[in-house]
Every structure is written in structure tokens, then in C-alpha cells.
Symmetry: C2
Subunit: 215 residues, 2 copies
DNA sequence: CAAAGACGAGAACGATCGTTCTCGCTTGCG
DNA sequence: CGCAAGCGAGAACGATCGTTCTCGTCTTTG
């Protein structure tokens, strides 16, 4: 029951807003941002232009909201994978690449929204470029936490982040999901090598952990 | 001396064409493709619209020519690095990441043209998407040649390619060139691990090649 | 019922897009 | 010199962009 006004309930507004974000995400992701006009978004979302502009004061604002929402989705995917994947930091790190593998298999996969948007708008929209930079930095920071917990040197986190980024663009352009498995295999090698060579012992006596065979 | 007409020499035409491609590359690379109109390209190149359209029948054709030219430049960079870098396949592979390191240091670096263009146009321009896919595939094939020559399993080439792609996007978004060094360190680990475990001997007795210390 | 405010459909606006055309001017040749 | 062809500068074209406005309809409240 609406409180005392004939306005829409805030819950209804939030629902419409979410629907708009979903439609905008789908359109921007599949066709690029410049290629999708507000009219196309109106048709896709079923929300009038008037309401679109009262929900988001400008297209740039809408793009930022889409990126913000994607960031939340990505973080949730990573955290659930880390939480449910396994208990050792090593397997938690590897679980990230399993997330990638499942994502690449979706039939509308077309790469990383943030990378794509950076290429299209990074040179002309500094605010959006900064938002993208922060997102990538926070992902790297999360990897760094897990790497530290695993007892590996910090450089490993950067290497694992590069693998994740490269897997996304490679899978998008090639149109296959092989990149996820290759990235996972590479990550396994890098992690285990880092763990093996980081032991304080004088030499590498290899206590049970073999250098992995890349598949 | 012009042959028998008062038209421009073909050499002059080629020079103008190259100037246009250079100007278009600079504008598209720094601002994105949709954001650069033909008028802006006219101002930047000093070539009239009429001539622009007689050199390139459409903007899409021009974009393809820009990508084609970039592909030649990239291949030259890689081949000279491979040729002059060193003689062992291992160091030739690593030389690729030195190319990246020098590239990332350029002050107008903004990522890989092909990745950026794929994000912006890959969903709506299938011909351009295919061109980008072919370029990346040929780079991977070149890596595969070197990997085979090094005696490592073919999967290593995919891993090294993913590292190169990831380094480019990471460096572009972060705005630093650290990614090149991290990618090179990771590549060193992956190569040496692959070479060590690929020896036909029953176990890894590590004949002189230690697992590298990541830096 | 009456009145008022919110809403959707879509026209309208100025800007800019890719592309083509007009119009003087230059230039090389008989 | 006269003429024809090619050229640059820029106007022009239709389309589409992001954004705003109009107007008729509907809902809700007194």
C-alpha cells in the first residue's frame, strides 16, 4: 500500500531501475555503448524515456550504474567461488578460473564489460575510466589477499590477475572457452612454483608438491 | 614524372594514404572509433573529405585499413625482437614481453588496438571482428612455432598468449607498465617449468635448469 | 463527481554522424 | 590563350544521437 502519495512505491521504483539496468547491460554488452541509443533502451526495457531520465539523469550516469552493478555481480561470483570452492588458499585462487570457465560458456559471452568499456570510453570519459581502474584494482587486491594467505610472494597476485584478464579477452575474441582452462593450468604452475620456491629451506627439496604437468 | 596524365603520381597517393592511416590510427586509438568523425580526421590529416572518400570508400573500410596497418607494425616488432633478441627459442619467446615493456612505456599507450576495437565494434561489425580474430590467431600461431622449436608442449603457447593479452589490458587500465615485467616473470616460470617437465626422462632430475625465482 | 497530479507515447530540438554534392580555383596541355 | 579535368573548402543531406517537451489518458484523493 503506498504510504500517503499517489507516487510509485520506492520498491516499485527500485524494481524498474533494476529492469532498466538489466536491459541496458544486455544491450551495451552485446553491441557496445555508442551503438545503443536511448530509444533502443526504451524498446528493450519497456520504460518510457521520461522515466529513464528521471531514474538516470544522463546516459553517462546510466553507464556508470551498469558498471557498478556488474562489479557487484562479479564480486559475488568470486566470493562464492572462494567460499565454496575449497579451504586452502591455493584452491581458492584456482576457483577464480573455474568461474571464468563457466562464464565463457555462456552463449552471449563477449568479453569483460570493463575492458570493452575502457576501450570504447576510456579515452574520453575520465570518470568511467577511473571507475574501471578501481574495479580492476580491487580484484587484484582480493587476489593479493589470497596469495598472502597462501604464503606466496606478492608478485604472484599480479601474475594471476594478468592471466585472468588475458583469458577474458582471448576467449572473447577467439569465441571459445579454451582460454579458461589454459589460464587455470598456467595459474596452477605459477602458484605451485611460487609456493615451492618460497620455502625458507636452503634449496628446493620438493616436499611432496611436484611441479604440475600443464594440460 | 607523371606518366601521361595530370593525375597525382601513385607514389604521392600512397604517401597521402599512409598519412591518413597514421592520423586515423592516432585519433581512433586515443578516443575510440565512434567518437571520431570524418571531419575530425580531415582536420587531423589535412586531407579533404572528398579525397578521404576516394581513398577509402567508407569509414568501416578505413577502420579495416588501420587495423591492417597495425597488424604489420606489430608483426615487425615481434619479428625483429625474435631475430635480434637471442638465438634460443626460450629467449626469443621472452623477447616478446620486452617488446610489450617498451610499448607500455610510450606516453600515449592505451592498450591493444585490436582488443579495444573488438570491444567497441565486435558485436556489430562481423567483418572487423573476423579480422581481429585472425590477427590474434596468427600471433598465437607464431608463439606456437617458437614453443615447438623450444621443445615444449603446445599448451604453453596458449598460456604465453594469454599472458601477453592480459598484460596489455592490465597495463592500459592501470596506467602503469608493471604488467609487462610481471608477465615476463610469469612467462619465464611457465617456459622453464614446461621445459623441465617435458624431458623424456622418467623423473625430473633437473639438469642445470632451476625453477626460476619470480621477481 | 471533480480536480489535479503522474504517467506513457511520441514529437521536437539542436547537435553530430557518415556521406555526397556544389562551386570556384588551380593546373597541365593543345 | 582556352579548355577541360581535378582539386579543396565547405555546404548540404538524411539519419540518428542525447535530451526535453507536449499532450492526452489514467489514477487517486477530497
Amino acid at each position: 500500500m503506498p504510504p500517503t502519495t499517489r507516487n510509485r512505491t520506492t520498491a516499485q521504483t527500485e524494481q524498474i531501475r533494476e529492469n532498466v539496468l538489466i536491459a541496458a547491460d544486455r544491450l551495451y554488452y552485446s553491441r557496445g555503448i555508442h551503438a545503443v541509443g536511448m530509444d533502443a533502451l526504451r524498446d528493450e526495457s519497456g520504460v518510457s524515456l521520461k522515466r529513464l531520465y528521471q531514474l538516470f539523469p544522463s546516459k553517462e550516469n546510466l553507464v556508470e550504474a551498469v558498471l557498478h552493478r556488474r562489479r557487484g555481480i562479479w564480486n559475488s561470483l568470486v566470493e562464492t567461488a572462494v567460499a565454496t570452492g575449497s579451504d586452502t588458499p591455493r584452491d581458492q585462487l584456482l576457483a577464480v578460473y573455474d568461474v571464468l570457465a563457466r562464464w565463457f560458456d555462456e552463449d552471449d559471452f563477449r568479453g569483460c564489460v570493463f575492458i570493452n568499456t575502457f576501450g570504447e570510453l576510456g579515452g574520453t570519459a575520465p570518470h568511467i575510466a577511473m571507475l574501471i581502474r578501481e574495479h580492476k584494482a580491487s580484484f587484484q587486491a582480493r587476489l593479493a589477499e589470497l596469495v598472502t594467505k597462501a604464503g606466496a610472494p606478492a608478485a604472484l597476485a599480479h601474475q594471476l590477475a594478468i592471466l585472468a584478464e588475458g583469458a577474458q579477452t582471448t576467449a572473447a575474441i577467439a569465441g571459445t572457452n579454451d582460454a579458461a582452462h589454459h589460464a587455470r593450468a598456467a595459474a596452477t604452475t605459477l602458484i605451485d612454483t611460487a609456493l615451492a620456491t618460497n620455502r625458507p629451506a636452503t634449496s628446493h627439496h620438493n616436499d611432496g608438491v611436484d611441479p604440475p604437468v600443464t594440460t
